[in-house]
């Protein structure tokens, strides 16, 4: 049974979040196809929208990662679109955000984690990459610095995954609870409960608006943090 009160039991042999991820990928596929099917030098409609979003993402990537940013564009763009569409799907009745499942957000965070270290080692070499974790401190402090840096690195995927998961799950639970309250209060026959049902009816659209905002912000935050981590790993500047 779904833990989300609003959730619908589909009784599918495959996990619901995976199906929702596939739907999200399908939506991204559709948006992208609509955007590029008739590319014009003066963009209109979906091409304009897609160019706007991709332009913002690439600009942020250039600013944060530097000259090597173009090779990471696919990851940053896909992270943003996948998380945004997945988050927004939770606002549609009958659908669930795949990002409200820890397995999904942990998967995304692990992608960023491994990509960060892979690109960092590829860019600097293994020893130069690991060396930065010892910091510019006296020799006797270096082991402590290494442990602290290692913990910091390991905490990153945790914070990434739990931040997204918590925000989106909270939004879905809140929407579900409000819907459940209406379902419970309205047909109760109790005048007080019937009057109280007005509260979730009014609150739910407002929470949906809030959810819209949270969905965009969380997608943006996840992508920006991925840029910061990868930019820090591949950058040759002193830390």
């Amino acid at each position: 049974m779904s833990a989300i009160p609003e959730g619908i039991e589909y009784h599918l042999p495959i996990d619901l979040s995976l199906i929702m991820s596939w739907i999200a990928v399908g939506i991204i596929f559709l948006i992208s196809w609509l955007g590029v099917r008739r590319m014009a030098k003066v963009p209109k409609g979906m091409q304009n929208f897609l160019e706007w979003i991709l332009g913002i993402i690439m600009q942020f990537a250039d600013d944060m990662v530097g000259p090597t940013a173009p090779q990471y564009y696919p990851l940053f763009c896909m992270l943003f679109f996948f998380i945004l569409v997945s988050n927004l799907m939770g606002l549609v009745p009958g659908l669930v955000s795949s990002t409200s499942r820890l397995s999904t957000t942990a998967g995304l965070a692990l992608i960023v984690f491994f990509a960060t270290h892979f690109f960092g080692i590829r860019e600097k070499g293994l020893w130069n990459y690991v060396k930065r974790w010892f910091g510019n401190v006296p020799t006797w402090l270096k082991p402590f610095m290494f442990v602290i840096e290692l913990m910091s690195e390991l905490a990153r995927p945790l914070s990434l995954s739990f931040r997204l998961f918590g925000n989106i799950l909270a939004k879905e639970i809140l929407l579900g609870v409000l819907a459940l309250l209406v379902v419970i209060f309205l047909p109760s026959g109790n005048i007080i409960q019937e009057c109280l049902s007005v509260v979730p009816i009014v609150l739910r659209p407002l929470i949906i608006l809030l959810g819209l905002l949270v969905s965009v912000i969380q997608a943006f935050v996840f992508m920006i943090l991925a840029m910061v981590y990868i930019g820090g790993a591949v950058s040759h500047e002193a830390h």
Partner: protein, 165 residues
């Protein structure tokens, strides 16, 4: 909800990565390439426009420079022409004066010669007339030498009384 299903996580990761590669290859890659080409084209157009503007400005400056050069040259040539004209006028005047003087001198010379010739003729005629008059008065011929001496004396007296001599 809070637990991690590693199989599900792996499939999610695979879904994400496969979708990322396909979508980038099919859609976003060509679109970003298209955007970059358009930006480069716009930058190229702007650079060409800037270059064209600079070329036009340079041509305009060259035009003004040549115009001022031509004006200066025209002024110089006008001055030179005026100077040459003035010089030619002076030369013509000098030559005209010299010619006039030459003509005048020649006329005076001719006049002098003519006067002398006329005087000589006059003297000769006067001599003859005088001799004839004397012969008539005396009724006889004079010695040739006496005639000549008397005639010269007469002419000499005549020149003394000739006005402007």
């Amino acid at each position: 909800m809070m637990e991690i299903n590693w199989v599900l996580l792996s499939v999610q990761v695979a879904t994400f990565l496969v979708a990322m590669v396909i979508i980038w290859k099919l859609f976003w890659g060509p679109l970003t390439k298209f955007m970059q080409e358009r930006s480069q084209q716009i930058e190229g157009d702007l650079k060409r426009a800037e270059t064209g503007k600079r070329e036009i400005e340079a041509m305009e400056a060259e035009y003004h420079r040549r115009l001022s050069e031509l004006e200066e040259r025209a002024q110089q040539e006008i001055k030179e022409a005026l100077a040459r004209g003035a010089q030619a006028k002076d030369q013509i005047m000098i030559e005209a004066r010299q010619e006039a003087k030459r003509i005048l001198d020649k006329a005076q010379s001719d006049l002098t010669l003519e006067r002398e010739r006329l005087l000589r003729e006059l003297r000769s005629h006067m001599t003859e007339i005088s001799l004839q008059a004397v012969e008539r008065l005396l009724g006889q011929g004079l010695d040739q030498n006496v005639q000549k001496r008397l005639l010269d004396q007469f002419l000499s007296d005549l020149e003394k009384v000739r006005p402007g001599a």
